[in-house]
Symmetry: C2
Subunit: 345 residues, 2 copies
């Protein structure tokens, strides 16, 4: 399986994961509703850490859970780990084999705290350390760059949010996700053209906010590992505090800016970047007025809820990055010096 | 006052802050020891958010407190804010005027949760919203780029750590910080040469781990806002998971790698980057063998504890960035399009 095959496989893979996890998600939600915790501590690395960032906003906004992202090296690198009083510990990992993440979940068990793991390998050491396990069920991911496991992680995080809230409408609307992913994939020829026009891109910022801060981080990570682009992900709020000073005429700004409660502010910022600073914008959005600001336009399908947009937007980012990689003469199936599982200690 | 004046003023400013805060820190530590909380939630933006990252590691490793970094837009941007059960809420802000941070601390009060603010303006709205306030007391910061407030924030965070632990040895060793900062400032001519040799730097990664992940983030932020460099801060653990693919011959890698429990892994990575990938290394360290790997060597004074290194290292990063700014023909006192207080909503 090549990276391109795995990108293309996402509508089917996510549909399979949605269908196969319906019962398991309800069961896990039931167990969590009985568990005693005050906040959620998520341990993850790389692409899975970007999924964690989505959980931070989604579970925060829709389930009113305070979600904190762990610093895994505090659990494996420095002296005695902190007490986890009040925490539900959630581990997210494609492979379930990163020793520092296993250390966090094992510490939860040692301290008698509840734990949940989202992984693509229910036989992994991470899964073995957890009370509750959700299996992505998207089949083995062979490409070095994670794609289908990311969109399946977001989908599972959203399913769990809906089940915890008892929100059947939200649960049903997730059935539309595979169709959204397929709609973005149909745009691949246009996205290829946008990427080919930027073959010499070697640095950029990638902006997002709220639910789509996760998408900005994931887009940047893909650009770093597949295209050797120094891509700096930032929330639009942090960007305006200082890094905006980087933007001069022609400076490449990639942005994820779908409709929703935070859209007006992001749209206004992108307008200033386009009109006052002549930035070179590539925008992923379902808002025609925001796409109109950009030289590179990656349209999301109509009818997305704000919280669903990151799943479809991730596929737009993947397709752009894949074609930029090819346009730069790099091999998307053999990024320089990477292995699939990194055993950070 | 110019930026260079404020950089140079740090030994005196931090000494003043240390002396003036001795009683206040003990009082705040006493109140916190009586307060009922399970974890610490820190709300901050920009440079202060990098200080929060230092608190995450220091309070985590030395005080065994679980420190989470808040997503401020969940408190001002999205629907109803999450419950703060079990949290001590800490706000960190130079000006104390960012409305989204004020919203987090006000929400803590509304929910009856204890709160502490570290600010350079005890008359600010942020201070007014908090139960407990620590004043940096370093005098007005006029330059757009924060310097003396950052080193004073780290020092105050370390003082509080020592007071909470009842660790008098740690408290006394902080007396040496002003001398460390002065020692780094004495190296300014050499650091200027390192920066001048890299006047055309326009993208880089900045690596750190543990306590010094904060330094990597702060160094990167300064490079972004003062030098228009796309500087990507990463923990060495995250870097090895994927972004390492960016590094080809001559690629600039800046790293903060002092002695300590995490030093061996960082040193080994830097060795591979230098020898196998011919990266252009600029290293801040007190370890001669690690400095020896680098083309650009910024030496820290001897006798630093691991947890103190970030305060001195920050000054090395500031001096490098200041001289890179000049070498690029930019004005360190007028970064493009920035104001001192950004009112993110």
């Amino acid at each position: 399986m090549s990276l391109w095959d795995e990108i293309g496989e996402q509508p089917a893979a996510v549909e399979r994961s949605l269908r196969a996890n319906r019962v398991a998600v309800r069961r896990v939600a039931g167990r969590l509703q009985e568990a005693d915790f005050r906040y959620v501590l998520v341990a993850a690395r790389g692409t899975s850490d970007n999924a964690a960032r989505y959980a931070q906003y989604l579970w925060g906004a829709r389930n009113r859970l305070l979600v904190a992202l762990a610093a895994p090296s505090l659990f494996s690198g420095l002296e005695r780990p902190p007490p986890l009083d009040g925490a539900l510990v959630v581990g997210i990992s494609q492979s379930g084999r990163s020793p520092d993440l296993v250390a966090v979940v094992q510490e939860a068990r040692r301290q008698g705290r509840p734990s949940l793991v989202l992984t693509n390998d229910p036989d992994s050491p991470l899964a073995a350390a957890a009370d509750l396990v959700l299996d992505l069920l998207v089949g083995p991911e062979r490409a070095v760059a994670a794609t289908k496991t990311y969109t399946a992680q977001l989908t599972l995080i959203a399913m769990l949010s809906a089940a915890l809230a008892g929100d059947n409408e939200m649960l049903e609307s997730l059935e539309a996700v595979p169709g959204h992913l397929a709609a973005v994939l149909e745009e691949a020829p246009g996205i290829r053209g946008i990427a080919q026009g930027r073959a010499r891109l070697h640095r950029c910022v990638v902006l997002g906010r709220g639910y789509d801060l996760a998408t900005a981080f994931e887009w940047a990570l893909k650009l770093q590992e597949l295209c050797a682009v120094v891509a700096l992900p930032l929330s639009t709020a942090d960007f305006e505090h200082g890094p905006v000073a980087m933007v001069e005429s022609g400076f490449p700004v990639l942005a994820v800016a779908p409709r929703g409660s935070l859209h007006a502010g992001v749209h206004s910022l992108l307008g200033r970047l386009a009109n006052e600073r002549q930035a070179d914008l590539v925008v992923i959005s379902d808002a025609p007025e925001t796409l109109a600001l950009a030289g590179g336009r990656i349209a999301l399908p109509d009818g997305l809820s704000e919280w669903m947009a990151p799943i479809a937007a991730a596929v737009g980012a993947q397709v752009f990055t894949y074609h930029l990689c090819l346009a730069r003469g790099l091999d998307p199936d053999a990024p320089r010096g990477l292995r699939k599982v990194t055993r950070t200690r």
